[in-house]
């Protein structure tokens, strides 16, 4: 058995000869030390996978319509069971299905159901507790709970689908929390504030997309680039304003931003920037 010093010396030699890279060593170290690596979900979507997700969306619509049509006749218990109960059940079915590679995609469809239905369940609970569930304060709490739940799920299960839900619920939290802080106060112009927030969300999406492009979450990059650039350029255009209330700064800078986006699409080799 070689000593630690011998092993390190050997690695140094291999490194100098460029036989092994730092990433390969990291991977070997992680697999040996028991650190979980992210589960790669980069399989191409086939017709059966698409049908899984459509099925998940139909289940959500069914529950939403059932609830909307019978809101006044259904009791609190039934409402919670139909929404939060169904959402939590779907989440655990997703966990079970994800353990087997053959049923993994069906598991993701169940995760989708849970992500769509659990917010409704929380809405029902907040509404019954006497809160105005559509207020920004309640929305901040609901989105905060969901963001925390899916971040924790990501840490435990290391699945891309949880990264996506964390980003979506994180964005909801960002918008509702900032709206809650401003409340009805005349601090900012409403539309300008909305545009600046979309601008910030767009930049964030692009940066996260770039960070993901180099690791196991690369499948999310194009989605993040696409929505990021849409939000960024869309809000920059809106901030320029329209006659007679143009903003000279944003109007002048906008062509530069367009060329910047074109340049970036070449630099990071992504067509999503051009959509």
């Amino acid at each position: 058995m070689a000593t630690k010093e011998e092993v390190l010396q050997y690695i140094k030699t291999l490194g100098e000869q460029k036989i092994v890279t730092k990433d390969e060593l990291d991977l070997a170290f992680d697999s040996g030390s028991g650190i979980k690596t992210d589960v790669v979900l980069t399989k191409k979507l086939g017709i059966s996978e698409i049908l899984y997700y459509i099925g998940g969306a139909i289940v959500f619509l069914g529950i939403a319509i059932l609830l909307a049509q019978n809101w006044s006749t259904l009791g609190f218990g039934t409402k919670v069971l139909a929404t939060l109960g169904a959402g939590v059940a779907a989440y655990f079915v997703g966990v079970l299905f994800s353990r087997d590679e053959r049923t993994e995609t069906a598991g993701s469809a169940f995760y989708l159901i849970s992500a769509l239905v659990i917010p409704m369940g929380l809405y029902v609970i907040f509404d019954n507790a006497g809160f105005d569930a559509s207020s920004y304060g309640s929305q901040s709490l609901i989105s905060g709970i969901l963001f925390g739940m899916y971040m924790l799920s990501y840490v435990v299960f290391r699945k891309n689908v949880f990264t996506l839900f964390s980003i979506l619920f994180g964005t909801w939290l960002f918008f509702s929390l900032t709206s809650f802080m401003v409340g009805g106060g005349p601090y900012f112009d409403d539309w300008k504030f909305y545009e600046y927030r979309v601008l910030v969300a767009g930049i964030t999406y692009m940066l996260i997309g770039y960070a993901f492009s180099k690791n196991e979450r690369a499948s999310l990059s194009n989605f993040l680039y696409g929505f990021g650039i849409l939000g960024f350029l869309g809000s920059a255009l809106a901030l320029g304003g329209w006659e007679p209330n143009q903003n000279v700064f944003w109007e002048l800078i906008y062509p530069g931003l367009i060329f910047g986006a074109l340049f970036l699409s070449v630099h990071i080799k992504s067509k999503s920037f051009l959509t």
């Binding site: 909801w172 960002f174 900032t178 009805g184 601090y187 960070a211 993901f212």
Partner: protein, 177 residues
């Protein structure tokens, strides 16, 4: 430190919205700690002659003093608005509360009827936001909430009103000099 260096774009991406939240919080709460309004004001409630039959008078300021103006309301047997006695209130900007004041006492006050106070504050309506993610719209004016605004500070007013809190049921009369 090594992890942050390795994931600098991710850290930057997550930091930007957090910084914006901190910036919004700072720009809302910080100025209020240092800049405070100093001038109390007088307002009337329930003297909206379009909505109330208010015994035919309305208040205004003339030569820095409060006066009562006679109003001639057209006689119309088909239109019988609710009969309400207009009330005057004095708003204390330090305590953030209003208390009713009699017309005779209010007449002794020295009033400035400009919309802006000598320290550059004014009474404005709040704004109303609406919607669920991703559709948060600025929904226009909130006629139920009024704010004291100036120098990037907004303070919600805790107004007493004579009747419901609708558009014309608050009428600013003047700043107390």
């Amino acid at each position: 430190m090594e992890i942050i260096k390795k994931n600098i774009t991710l850290v930057l991406g997550i930091s930007i919205p957090i910084l914006m939240i901190l910036f919004v919080a700072g720009s809302i709460y910080l100025p209020g700690l240092f800049i405070k309004p100093h001038f109390n004001f007088l307002y009337a409630s329930g003297d909206d002659s379009y909505y109330y039959y208010n015994n035919g008078y309305q208040y205004s300021v003339q030569n820095d003093k409060l006066i009562k103006n006679e109003l001639k309301q057209p006689e119309n047997p088909n239109y019988t608005p609710p009969r309400v006695e207009p009330k005057l209130y004095l708003y204390d900007v330090v305590k953030n509360e209003s208390k009713e004041i009699a017309f005779a006492d209010a007449q002794n006050l020295n009033l400035d009827s400009n919309t802006k106070s000598p320290d550059d504050f004014e009474v404005v309506y709040g704004s109303r936001g609406d919607g669920f993610f991703p559709f948060f719209w600025g929904g226009g004016t909130d006629y139920n909430a009024r704010y004291l605004k100036g120098h990037n500070v907004s303070k919600k007013l805790n107004l007493q009103l004579n009747g419901g809190s609708y558009y014309n049921n608050f009428r600013f009369i003047g700043w107390i000099k």
